[in-house]
C-alpha cells in the first residue's frame, strides 16, 4: 500500500475561562490536531482501499500523542474525544472512512483504552472548508455534559488530492453545562454508553 505523505500538521488548543457565567475551577481545554496528507486514491475509483488503514496507524498514534502532550500530557485529564476527515475534491467520501479504525485506535492507545465509541464526521471539501468535529465522553456516550464540538479547518487544505484527518480531545464538560442528563460521575463506564 502507498506510503503516508504528510504535507502539513496543525494543532489548535483552546483554553476556555468562561462563557459569561461563573468561572470553572480550572479552565476547559479543547484541542485538535489535523494532518494533511496526500490522498493516494485521488482522481479515480479504486476498489481496494482498506489496507491503507494499517498504514495510517503510525500517523494516528503520533497525532494522538502530540495532541495529548499539547493538552498537558496526562491521559487521566482527557474526558472527551472525537475525530473527523475532510476529503479533497478529487477524492470520495469513502476515503474519509479510512480514518475510523486508525483514528479511534490511536486515541484509545494513548488514553488507556476508554470504552465509548469515538464520534466522528466527514465530508468532501475544498481548501478552507470547516469541519465541526463532534465530541462525546470517552467512557460513556450518553454523558450529556460532554456533548460538544470543535470547529477545525485550514485555509490551504485539503487541496484536491489531499486528505485532512483530525483528532480532537477535551479536558471536561461544556464550561457552563446545566442541561441535565447522565452526569459523568454517575456512569458505570462498562458498555461505553452509560
Amino acid at each position: 500500500m502507498p506510503e503516508v505523505h504528510i504535507r502539513k500538521i496543525a494543532t489548535q488548543i483552546e483554553e476556555i475561562f468562561h462563557e459569561f457565567g461563573p468561572l470553572p475551577e480550572r479552565p476547559l481545554l479543547r484541542g485538535a490536531i489535523i494532518a494533511v496528507i496526500a490522498n493516494p486514491f485521488a482522481g479515480g475509483y479504486v476498489a481496494d482501499i482498506a489496507p491503507f488503514m494499517e498504514d495510517l496507524k503510525p500517523l494516528g498514534l503520533s497525532m494522538a500523542r502530540r495532541l495529548l502532550a499539547d493538552l498537558g500530557g496526562d491521559p487521566a485529564r482527557i474526558e472527551g474525544y472525537g475525530k473527523g476527515a475532510i476529503i479533497g475534491t478529487a477524492g470520495e467520501l469513502e476515503h474519509g472512512a479510512l480514518w475510523h479504525a486508525p483514528g479511534g485506535y490511536s486515541m484509545r492507545e494513548v488514553l488507556g483504552a476508554p470504552k465509548a465509541i469515538v464520534p466522528s464526521t466527514k465530508k468532501v471539501g475544498a481548501a478552507g472548508a470547516r469541519l465541526d468535529v463532534p465530541i462525546t465522553h470517552i467512557n460513556a456516550s450518553y454523558v450529556r455534559s460532554h456533548f460538544d464540538s470543535i470547529e477545525v479547518g485550514l485555509n490551504d487544505a485539503p487541496r484536491a488530492n489531499e486528505l485532512a484527518f483530525v483528532l480532537a480531545m477535551t479536558t471536561g464538560p461544556r464550561v457552563h453545562n446545566r442541561s441535565l442528563g447522565l452526569a459523568a460521575d454517575a456512569i458505570t463506564g462498562e458498555d461505553g454508553l452509560r
Partner: protein
Amino acid sequence: MSASIRKIAVWVEETHTEMGRPIVPPTRKAVAVAVIANPFAGRYVEDLTPLIDIGAELGALLGERCVRALGIEPAQAQSYGKAAMVGEGGELEHAAALLHPKMGAPLRVAVEKGAALVPSSKKMGGPGQDLDVPLGHKDAAYVRSHFDGIEVRLNDAPRAGEIMVAVAVTDSGRPLPRVGGLAHDQAIGKDGLR
C-alpha cells in the same frame, strides 16, 4: 485595568512538504489569540488608556504562548505579527489602542530583540470571521522570505462586546522562498529594516 479573558486559543502549523518537495526542517508558525471583554463596547469613550495597558499585557502573554507552542528559545523566533478584530459593539480605534502604543515592547521581550516594526492588521468583525495576521521578519523588515501571514478564526468570537487579539510568531519563513531579496542570514538586524 487588566484584561478580562474569556478564552485563549493557540494554533501551530508545520509544513512538511510543498509541491512535492520536502521542507527540512518543516517551517512552523504559531498564533495565539485572546478573546477579551471590550470595556468600551456600546459607548464612546475618549480615553483609551485601559485598552492600551491591556495591549501591553497581551503582548507578553500571547508572545510567550506562541514561543512556548513552538517549543523554541525566544531568540529562535524569526518573524512576528499582530492583529485585532473588534466585535460589533466596539470601534476600530479600540483595536488601535490594543495594538499600537504598548503591545510591541513586551512582545519583543518574548521573542528576544525584535528590531523591526511588528506588522499588523485590524478590523471589525463577528464570530466565525477570518482575521489574517501579517508576518514579517522580527529584526529586519526587508527580509523577503519571511513576508507571510496566518489566518485565525473562532466560530464563537468575537461577540458584540468582545475583542479578539492575535499575536503570531514563527521560527522560519515561507516553505519554498525563491523571489530574491534580502535573506535571513544576510540581515544585520540593527535598524529594523535590513
